[in-house]
Symmetry: C2
Subunit: 424 residues, 2 copies
């Protein structure tokens, strides 16, 4: 019950926060930016503690890198906050304004969702980033960070809380949960938390989805495909494959499976082999193995997000076989066709059931910043609410405002009034 | 496993259906409209069987009314389909078109969600209506009707299936589930079904929500409020309360609780009592009881959707108390303020966390048809994906199409290309 009390307080604060003006929300972001810079030594000190503990406990280097919060990370975070301040108010935007009848005006206005729960592994910079997004969009936020970043998270949380306090935000607009048990508590708060955003590994996201009734926005897997059509420009294809695979292998938008049309396989696969062989471990289907010397892959490999210098290769009979493979084995994240044939591209666009469907470009463009959204909340492979890279609007919902002058439905039934439906 | 086979077939059909043109989708609707009229005697015969069985089994009159599918219902359904044919294509609408860089064009296009599961109690007309909405929007649909309407549902299902067949739709774009066990099967198909729309009583919707991992769009409760402010026009208030309460008590948008500002309670409550006493059973808080002679209500009454000629009344100290009450006890459906003070109305708009927030009009306007959406999928009290009355767009999602000419991220990193972000 004491757990619930914390959730109730955040929920109540969220209702107050929803009515806070953009001037105040921007002031809070300004205060946050200043306080981060003023208190940087304290943050770095806390971070050192976490890093020392991490080294002692034998965390691996990539995890330690993500855990690090230094001058560079601080500058990135502060610059992100400053960009956010310049963005226009996402709230109270009119999505529809319609006269239903004389003097009866309907308006659909954006508003915050309410309480956002964020669960992340290490990466203290993500804590500040997501909190800043919530401040801009008028959402209360409950943060659950990894225990390995506890000291850093606490220091950052105090600063965000202070930024809110100094600008008159409701006290409990932000809550930091610290213990491992708190994760399960947060996942059980479906009466108070409107949306959960997990930031971490596949297994982590899947665990969250499997253990909460709260809607989850995010992606568990990024099994992206490139299909090289029989009418592809092969040099173009080669460059795009190289970029999609090797630019940053740990990204969810890196390619994992290459599909090649049978009519070009004999020419193209040796080109692929030559280009990738020094850097990427390839596996292939039986037909691939007849053309280039790579190990045979198993069905489960097609489901695998390698996040590594590895690539599955399959020869397909047709565009439709490629589409079927992608819809069956993919994760509905981002899939590309390489072809010079516009009709094939259109057919691919229509049939592939993914958040991003690309033609003649790298899958690595699937990213909020590269789409010009400014701030990125995450990438969603769900189909409801938000799909693909999600900007600030992923933290918004809307309400319908209806203004009348005493209008009753009886007036309409009696024929004294009539619906006009004029968009204004 | 045989259960899953049915789901797989519908899923596969949904992928084909997503690429079917608007001409074909409209042809299917035209065929459906004709077939319904041609086969009406058969439908009515099937419906008679269900009605006879229902009478024998002692179903109550409202349920029998909903179960009835006669000439009048047929005309309604057919007219709904004909309206739908006239509506513009909801698919492939461009929501965003942006040049990310020279020759790299991002487009955000609407597309169907995929497979919609619909579970409804009696009301065979709802089966046709929702199927027609799915046909228009290119979604496959799995229907689970009530056993009391089994014969009618089967007859209607055959006709819809035939309409699809005659216009070249993929065979399994629609599936009818018949047995009680099938409901649980459908709820377990989270790998195949993208969205569930339940149509039925509160308990029914709550049961569905509690027993599936598939997102549910709908509303369990409609506990709507009217708050009469101290600066209200009392005659206007009285009319609106009468309309909101008595126009159709079984509707989710009927008012259940009346909140009255203390400064006008002594004048206004006797007016309310006089107007409603012959038709509506009122209950009140302690302060209400000091002014008019009504039984004392309990806290749980504030949570209750009466769906009847009953009304809870509470005297509140201020607009903020009214807002707090609504946010605490309401169901986030539709709530109204009656006031001549624009600032109070604005404050109410900002603070009430509901899908519909109204000023000086009846809560009964909360409805897709009255909002001018043409076709109504349902009313959602959830905050994600769709909120409030939901038109066809509730059955849509979007995908991002990105067209390049060999663009790689490496080009940008090397400085050979730059992002331009121009909306087109």
């Amino acid at each position: 019950m004491t757990d619930d009390k914390r959730a109730v307080e955040v929920k109540e604060s969220s209702l107050v926060l929803a009515a806070v003006s953009i001037v105040e929300r921007n002031n809070c972001l300004k205060a946050l930016s200043s306080l981060l810079k003023e208190n940087k030594d304290e943050i770095f000190k806390a971070n050192h503690k976490d890093l020392e503990k991490g080294v002692k406990e034998g965390l691996d280097q990539p995890l330690l890198d993500r855990l690090k919060f230094d001058e560079e990370k601080l500058l990135e975070v502060v610059s992100g906050i400053e960009d956010l301040i310049l963005m226009e108010d996402p709230l109270n935007k009119s999505l529809l304004k319609r006269e239903l009848s004389e003097d009866l005006i309907l308006e659909k206005l954006t508003c915050p969702i309410g309480v956002i729960g964020v669960i992340f592994e290490s990466r203290p910079d993500a804590l500040v980033q997501i909190s800043a997004l919530c401040i801009k969009s008028g959402n209360a936020v409950i943060l659950k960070g990894g225990s390995e970043a506890l000291n850093t998270n606490k220091a950052l949380f105090q600063i965000i809380k202070e930024a809110g306090k100094s600008t008159g935000f409701p006290e409990n607009f932000i809550l930091l949960l610290e213990t491992r048990e708190d994760t399960l508590t947060l996942l059980s708060w479906d009466r108070y938390v409107d949306l959960i955003i997990p930031r971490g590994s596949n297994e982590f996201v899947r665990y969250i989805k499997d253990n909460s009734r709260i809607p989850v926005m995010g992606h568990a897997d990024g099994v992206c495909h490139i299909y090289v059509d029989e009418r592809a420009d092969l040099e173009k294809a080669l460059n795009i494959i190289w970029d999609s695979k090797t630019d940053y292998v740990a990204a969810c938008n890196a390619v994992e499976t290459l599909l090649v049309h049978k009519n070009i396989a004999e020419i193209f696969l040796p080109m692929v082999f030559k280009k990738l062989k020094d850097d990427v471990k390839m596996k292939g289907c039986e037909n691939t193995g007849k053309i280039i010397n790579v190990p045979l892959l198993k069905d489960e490999d097609y489901h695998t997000e390698y996040l590594d210098y590895k690539l599955s290769i399959k020869v397909v009979d047709s565009l439709n076989s490629a589409v079927d493979h992608i819809n069956k084995y993919g994760s509905h994240h981002t899939d590309a066709i390489i072809t010079e044939d516009e009709n094939s591209a259109k057919s691919f666009f229509n049939k592939v059931d993914s958040a991003g469907v690309y033609h003649n470009c790298s899958t690595r463009f699937a990213d909020g910043y590269r789409y010009g959204f400014g701030a990125e909340v995450g990438i969603s492979t769900g189909k409801l609410h938000a799909r693909g890279p999600v900007g600030l609007e992923g933290l918004l919902t809307y309400k319908y405002i209806l203004r009348g002058k005493g209008h009753t439905l009886a007036d309409f039934k009696k024929g004294e009034r009539a619906f006009s439906f004029k968009d204004l």
